[in-house]
Amino acid sequence: MTPPRLIFVTGKGGSGKSAVAAALALALSRRRPATLADLDRRGSAAGMLAAAGKADALETLALAPRAELKAFIHRIVPLRSISKRMLRSRTFGYVTAALPGLEAFLMLERLRLIAGTAALEDRYAVIDAPATGHALELLNVAGGIRELASTGTLHRLAAAVEDFIADPNRFGVILTVSPEELSLREALDAARAMRETLRVGWIAAALNFVTAPLFSAAEVATLADFPEHARLAEARRRAGRAAADARRALRDAGLGVIELPMVFAADFDHAGLETLCERLEQGLSQP
């Protein structure tokens, strides 16, 4: 798996998206300088990196839709005096009311520019994106804008953003998945939508919280006198099997799968992040 310049990390809530984004940025920063950009409004991934002690070749960045809109208006309204006045007034409200989806689109355009810079400077960018549902809405917005705007600046930009999303050298998605029915289904649905509708060229799954089954059915059976222990052993065995089933389902769907272990530690700190980081590095080094 040759990583694209920009990797967009999304997944169902609770699947460890921010931890994976942070660990991935850390892993890539050991190859080339890297940027971790937060789109989730909370800066969760950046916070995890900070708690774990940040690496030198890694910078963090928070992206705000409002700032993108501002930059766009400055770009498109050449007269500074007018654009400044628009920005001071309630015009933001006017523009966003008239063009729903514009802010989201401009965010995508920013990602395209970040990937372009990353290619020029030979670096990587990792995006801690919103959870799957919102992430799909975000990625879909370029197609919507291109249809709404039949010609003109936005049409050209939208087409460029769509090409960017489809280019496996510049844009890729890592879907974080926990080995549970709902999370797996959501990831498979998202992967299909990303491939078929958005033509995303590089998608991989990060199967998180993987445990070895540890116990065989026969071993669980010998624990009949100790129901509490039998229940725990059975739960572990099932979790291990669920992970194996999820891995198979993801591979059957044609996705590269990077398995990340359940970190059994009293504190998910530097060591936890480092474990995920090593596995991601191994996963990305596979053919």
């Binding site: 409004r41 007034s89 015009t91 003109g152």
Partner: protein, 368 residues
């Protein structure tokens, strides 16, 4: 297992329970479990779920493509007399269409809006529509007679305001000067417009041409069609606000025992306060059940040495996770805002797939 007597007490005089929280913490499960628990106690309960897992959908007797209120069969559950549970799955688009149908001044206006590309764009793409429609669905449910109690699941939110602020944001958008400005034809502007408004309108026109959107005409039509409905929307938003502030409403912030989620839950409670709303409880879901002691397996001769070692190493793994969980809970205790009750719910060890599973989860819900 502990009887949930204290929980039932806290809910006895409530008419509405709203479960808020970030994605992936089990809001839908907690909502369904609470609703079932209340129904089995002999009440008539309606529960609205958002995007339930297929098995939970099955357990509630719902179908993916149906968004109507369906009776849930409590036959085998040992319900008290008078018990009734109905469930529905939120379909934001359909609720929005119904809302338009209700408030459109004429059939022609209704058809024009439903076919309008701006409306279609708005109803599909605008972030917050699902939140607003959950609120609208709540109003529909609350006005239906014949229910003692409503339990409301909400769309996943990064911030509490996503859901609770939705009606206000929608109103601000629809009632904004921007929309009025766009909607008014040159000769029919309502109210005085400043020079800046006029300048903005001119710039917006240029913007429209440069960007190639040519949307202004459409937006103008849309707003003209919509203007007759604004009062209806405003009234609904007002009613939703009142319902949420009613003393018989309980707002429950759901989270899991992870550092990040707990920080988020505390932020939710603060954001609610800022909106003059009060979180009644924080519910920590999926707590690990207590671990059995290692003593009994250490002594048993029936367990081979290799298995014993594995059991012990597994117990040590789980104990580490429990320590992590406890640290998160301690942080919550230290930061728990005054007057907010703390509820715990224990992990079932599997995804709930039947009413019995939901009832089992409900039984574990307790005051911490």
């Amino acid at each position: 297992m502990k009887r949930p007597g204290s929980t039932a007490l806290a809910l006895a005089d409530r008419r509405l329970v709203v479960c808020l929280g970030p994605g992936g913490v089990g809001k839908t499960t907690i909502s369904a479990a609470l609703a079932l628990h209340l129904a089995l106690g002999g009440r008539k309960v309606d529960v609205m779920t958002v995007d339930p897992a297929p098995r939970l959908l099955d357990a509630l007797g719902l179908r993916v493509d149906d968004s109507s209120l369906q009776p849930v069969s409590l036959g085998a559950m040992g319900a008290r007399g008078g018990a009734r549970l109905r469930a529905l799955k939120l379909d934001p688009k359909r609720v929005f269409d119904r809302l338009i149908e209700r408030y459109a001044p004429s059939a022609a206006a209704r058809d024009a809006i439903l076919a309008d590309r701006v409306y279609r764009n708005l109803s599909n793409a605008l972030a917050g529509v699902a939140d607003y429609m959950a609120m609208e669905q709540l109003l529909e449910l609350s006005r239906a007679p014949d229910a003692d109690m409503i339990v409301l699941d909400t769309p996943p939110a990064a911030e509490a305001l996503d859901f609770l602020g939705a009606p206000r944001r929608m109103l601000e958008l629809l009632g904004s000067r921007a929309v009025t400005l766009l909607g008014a034809a040159g000769d029919a502007m309502r109210g005085p417009f400043s020079m800046l408004d006029l300048a903005a309108r001119a710039v917006l026109g240029a913007f429209d041409r440069v960007t190639g959107l040519h949307l202004l005409g459409d937006v103008r039509n849309f707003v003209r069609n919509f203007s007759g409905m604004y009062a209806g929307f405003a009234e609904r938003a007002e009613a939703a606000g009142e319902l949420l502030r009613d003393p018989r409403t309980l707002i429950v912030v759901v989270a899991t025992a992870e550092r990040e989620r707990i920080a988020q839950a505390i932020e939710f409670v603060a954001a609610l306060n800022e909106m003059d709303l009060k979180a009644g409880a924080i519910a920590i879901n999926r707590l690990r059940p207590p671990l059995p002691g290692a003593g009994e397996i250490a002594k048993s001769r029936k367990i081979p040495e290799s298995l014993r070692a594995k059991l012990q190493s597994h117990l040590a793994d789980l104990a580490a996770l429990q320590t992590r969980e406890q640290a998160a809970l301690d942080a919550l205790h230290a930061a728990l805002p005054q007057g907010v009750e703390l509820l715990h719910a224990t992990d079932l060890g599997r995804e709930p797939r039947s009413l019995a599973d939901l009832a089992e989860i409900a039984k574990t819900i307790r005051r911490a």
